[in-house]
């Protein structure tokens, strides 16, 4: 009775086994951790320009993003994602980088809108041509501004990316 054999467990999902009657799930830590992280992405509010209006739309009641577990946090110290929503000018770029540096690992960046992804229509002396010039970006959401559904898809793609991660936990990674 000490060890549960494979014949006692039921596979309820690929990679996840359950011991019926014992309320026990057996899975790899990767899967558990990734499931927790993907289901509760908490971005720091970083609306810079017009895309911020669409980000507010996504957070409002019609295209509710709270149903995906996304709660916007005001402080980068308590956030694990950053949605760069809007045009990044060269004067603002060090500030964006500083907010990103203050986020603890694991952290993700969604570049929302054309300006954050590639500078948009503003190919000028003062506009950064895409915030990936100084930030590592995980998901790009194009659009000017992207529809709320597009930003929702961006979050879903980020969830898919998180679910596929391996060994992003622990001290010896």
């Amino acid at each position: 009775m000490g060890v549960a054999m494979n014949s006692d467990t039921v596979e309820i999902e690929p990679g996840v086994r359950m011991i019926p009657g014992a309320s026990t799930l057996i899975m790899s830590i990767d899967k558990l951790v990734n499931w927790g992280r993907a289901g509760s992405i908490w971005p720091v509010t970083f609306g810079l320009a017009c895309c911020a209006m669409e980000m507010m739309d996504v957070g409002a009641s019609y295209h509710d993003i709270d149903r995906l577990g996304v709660i916007f946090r005001a402080s980068p110290r308590q956030a694990d994602a950053m949605v760069v929503a809007g045009t990044v000018c060269k004067k603002m770029a060090p500030v964006v980088r500083r907010v990103y540096d203050q986020m603890p690992e694991p952290r993700y960046v969604i570049a929302m809108g054309s300006c954050a992804s590639s500078g948009g229509i503003f190919n000028t002396y003062s506009t950064v041509q895409g915030c990936d010039e100084f930030l590592p970006v995980d998901v790009y959401v194009p659009g000017c501004p992207p529809r709320p559904e597009a930003l929702l898809e961006g979050f879903i793609r980020l969830q898919e990316k998180i679910i596929k991660e391996k060994s992003r936990w622990g001290r010896w990674r």
Binding site: R97, N123, T124, K164, K166
Partner: protein, 198 residues
């Protein structure tokens, strides 16, 4: 009062300062010298039946692109009690581009003159706090001049941004590069497959 009447009245009081009165598309512009601009504006604000108490806008224009050798500062004045407006254009040579500040007459000119200085390099004498307002303080150059390039990169780049890029390259070595359990995931675009079927 009509704009033309105001312009003629101004010319009768300041005959040497008014260079030209231009009428174009029902709008009148009065081109003036820069030397006594403060006297002009002071008179315009205090004259009882002109009464220009609102400076709607102050902006600079670079005419060197049209093969002229001057900048202009355009003052759009409006009178709230009298409900008439006037456009004053003060001509400034490129070589010594300074003009008196009108912040002592209309306080609202403060930030407009800072923007004009920031982007065109026109110095406003007597301004209480003339420094850059839109660009970073240590930016070199005045971007709205015609000779300033549209895009800058490499050597001409602002030093603050250069340093930021170097810093981010240095910090990239500490960022986590997770291996994903799939190699490049190829998710077919849903609309593409619909077209392929036809």
């Amino acid at each position: 009062m009509g704009q033309m009447a105001i312009a003629e009245r101004l010319r009768s009081i300041f005959p040497k300062e008014v260079l030209e009165i231009i009428k174009s598309r029902n709008q009148v512009g009065v081109i003036v010298r820069r030397e006594r601009i403060k006297d002009l504006c002071h008179w315009l604000r205090n004259e009882p039946d002109l009464d220009f108490n609102l400076l709607m806008d102050l902006c600079g224009v670079d005419y060197t692109g049209m093969n002229k050798d001057y900048y202009e500062v355009a003052y759009n004045l409006y009178s709230i009690p009298q409900r008439h407006m006037l456009r004053l254009r003060a001509r400034i040579p490129v070589v010594d581009c300074r003009i008196d500040s009108v912040t002592s007459i209309w306080q609202g000119a403060n930030w407009h003159e800072r923007e004009c200085f920031d982007l065109l390099g026109i110095v406003f004498d007597g301004h209480p706090d003339l420094r850059r307002i839109l660009l970073p303080e240590d930016w070199v150059g005045h971007p709205l001049r015609k000779e300033y390039p549209l895009q800058i990169s490499g050597e001409q780049e602002w030093t603050g941004y250069d340093e930021l890029k170097k810093l981010s390259r240095k910090l990239n070595q500490f960022s986590f590069q997770p291996e994903s359990s799939e190699t490049v995931p190829k998710k077919p675009h849903p609309q593409a497959s619909a077209h392929d079927r036809s």
